[in-house]
């Protein structure tokens, strides 16, 4: 029965959470100062504008002002609510006349049913009048409070209705002013769908995200995937490991493909960061590790880190939750030694998968998880909104030579707490934290590159600019030309130098 009830559970609108008992009024106070804004929120205006003229305003800084009321037609000057599920209670608003010449002035209220067969784009049925009010004096400027009970015919209906207020009159040029409209009920229009009534859709896990939008429609604790670089591609990180000395620019000392997926719930809180890492090559004699720091994310925000590889005699000290100990921010050491996962092929090979004369070593893929929330419960440090962890906060680095402090990061990414900063400024490194310059030479050359689209790395000792013929132009232009330097087009690469 419970399953049946759950499966039948239906939530209003595509992906929409909306009114509950605390939002049981649909209101308009005109304070946007721009009726187009409120029209975009599905209010309707006919010959009704907003005014901020001080002697006309009823409340706040803005009020609604009719055109000159010289027409008895209810379609001449009016306000319409968005589609609503009308509740019970009174419709209320403030109104007065501007004191201009007039013979008669009056108000009429209608409710408008939804008519799917209507030829109008708004799908409005025939209006039904339920209230009429004649201003006692057509020229008096006395402020009046209108309070009208919701008609029983539409009270607490499950069908959507609009309420229409028409301003009518004869003679003269006098206008009406109104403000602080309040209608009992819940908002039921879809501003993204020509303001038609909300579409009823299914939300199996009842998390407020429609199944059609929910990457996890049966999991109330997960809703969205946010991929970096994308769901269908993996980026490539290519490092030189001889930092702080310049290397040979073949950018194959450690090559890893990556894809991260930040999974969030319906409140945009991070549930977990899923990492997929494909180890491809290590054209190095050094035994290098590889890690990820989540810049700005304190360790108490994370419940656990799993899926990484640690050797038996690792240089890494792990905290109980699997992150690296003694770090200011969350660090997951994805692997501590490339060679322990992809062994050197031997026979004098120049590295692992960088020498075509040596045997190919099958790639190894690691799938990691950094957990922020478990069954809807956040870590001790509280939930983390996705805005706190943009892709730019993914700080990848290698640990060179099995020396924990010898970190090599992407250009201008800061070191972790465990980096040996005494190496900054030595050999060819020109790191200058004061200006945010990290892991670059005096000529701004890096020790690592990040190719979001993935790329084929050079063979051992083959500089990347010899393998990719437009790499230098790309670098000199700060990436503005030959942004596709890595692509396999005629004249773009020397295939003989690429593994």
């Amino acid at each position: 029965m419970k399953t049946l009830v759950k499966s039948l559970f239906i939530v209003m609108i595509s992906t929409i959470l909306f009114s509950n008992s605390t939002r049981a009024q649909v209101t308009l106070d005109c304070e946007s100062g721009n009726r187009n804004i409120d029209a975009a929120a599905c209010w309707g205006f006919g010959a009704l504008s907003y005014t901020s003229t001080s002697n006309l305003v009823i409340a706040g800084l803005w009020s609604a002002r009719s055109n000159q009321l010289t027409n008895l037609s209810p379609d001449a000057c009016w306000l319409k609510t968005p589609w609503m599920l009308v509740g019970n209670g009174d419709i209320t608003f403030l109104t007065k006349l501007d004191g201009g010449p007039a013979t008669t002035r009056a108000l009429k209220l209608f409710y408008i049913p939804y008519d799917i067969n209507s030829s109008s784009s708004h799908k409005e049925g025939v209006p039904v009048e339920f209230f009429h009010y004649d201003f006692p004096s057509a020229t008096s400027t006395v402020l009046r409070t209108i309070s009208v009970a919701v008609p029983a015919a539409i009270m607490n209906s499950t069908q959507p209705y609009k309420i229409k207020i028409s301003y009518i009159g004869t003679g003269g040029t006098g206008r009406a002013l109104s403000d602080n409209f309040s209608f009992p009920g819940t908002y039921y229009s879809d501003p993204t769908n020509s303001c038609l009534p909300l579409v009823v859709i299914q939300d199996t896990d009842n998390d407020g995200v429609a199944d059609a939008d929910d990457a996890y429609p049966n999991d109330p604790y997960r809703a969205y995937n946010n991929y970096y670089p994308s769901a269908s591609t993996m980026g490539t990180l290519a490092f030189e490991d001889n930092w702080p000395s310049k290397g040979d620019f073949d950018f194959n000392d450690l090559v890893v493909d990556y894809r991260l997926n930040t999974v969030t719930n319906a409140q945009n809180q991070i549930v977990e960061v899923l990492g997929t890492y494909k180890l491809r090559a290590s054209g190095a004699s050094f035994r290098n590790g590889f890690g990820l720091q989540l810049d700005g994310i304190a360790n108490n925000k994370v419940i656990s880190a799993t899926g990484h590889h640690a050797g038996a005699s690792s240089i890494i000290t792990y905290a109980a939750n699997g992150t690296e100990a003694n770090q200011q921010y969350v660090n997951q050491i994805v692997f501590d030694n490339f060679y322990s996962l992809m062994p050197h092929p031997g026979a004098g090979a120049l590295g692992i998968n960088t020498d075509e004369n040596a045997a190919f070593v099958p790639h190894v893929t690691l799938n990691t998880t950094i957990t922020f929330m478990n069954s809807g419960v956040a870590a001790a440090g509280g939930p983390v909104n996705i805005s706190q962890l943009p892709p730019s906060a993914f700080n990848f680095y290698i640990i060179s030579k099995q020396d924990r402090g010898r970190e090599v990061h992407l250009a201008d990414y800061s070191p972790t707490s465990l980096a040996n900063t005494s190496l900054f400024g030595t050999s060819q490194d020109d790191t200058n934290p004061a200006i945010g310059k990290y892991y670059k030479t005096v000529n701004n050359l890096p020790w690592a590159i990040n190719v979001l689209q993935g790329f084929d790395y050079p063979k051992e000792k083959m500089p990347i600019d010899e393998a990719y013929l437009h790499f230098v132009e790309w670098a000199q232009s700060a990436g503005s030309i030959y942004a596709d330097w890595f692509s396999n087009q005629a004249g773009y690469r020397n295939a003989a130098l690429i593994y």
Binding site: Y187, Y224, A266
Partner: protein, 126 residues
């Protein structure tokens, strides 16, 4: 005699092949040693893009899934968005991208990436 000729041809081929291999595998000197790159260059084929969505200053409550995707449909960002709020998010997109698709409820818009920004306002233009 015939065997000697074949052997000579094979020998020549081996020598040529060796020469060719020498040319390919000989370490090259990188032009990067003489290069000075712009100081702000990130050495990434991605670009940091700021997503700036301006909401409607209204007291109605409407929220739905807002997604940013490539023209191929690869979703870069997806989350719940309240129409009455502004949204600021930072993305890293391939630097070759010039346009993305924003989806919000039933609304779909192609938005240009201009000046490292993706900008959209729900406030109608008068």
């Amino acid at each position: 005699m015939k065997i000697a000729k074949i052997s000579l041809v094979l020998l020549i081929l081996v020598v040529l092949a060796s020469c060719s291999k020498e040319e390919i595998t000989e370490p090259k000197v990188s032009k990067l040693n003489d290069l000075t790159a712009p100081a702000q260059f990130s050495w990434s084929t991605g670009k940091v893009v700021e997503l700036e969505i301006t909401g409607l200053p209204t007291n109605i409550f409407f929220q739905s899934t807002l997604s940013i995707a490539s023209l191929n449909g690869d979703i870069y960002y997806s989350g719940m968005y309240d129409l009455s709020k502004d949204l600021h998010a930072q993305l890293i997109l391939p630097s070759t991208e010039t346009e993305v698709i924003m989806s919000y409820g039933k609304l779909t818009k192609n938005l240009p990436i201009a000046g490292s920004k993706i900008v959209y306002s729900f406030i109608p233009v008068e």
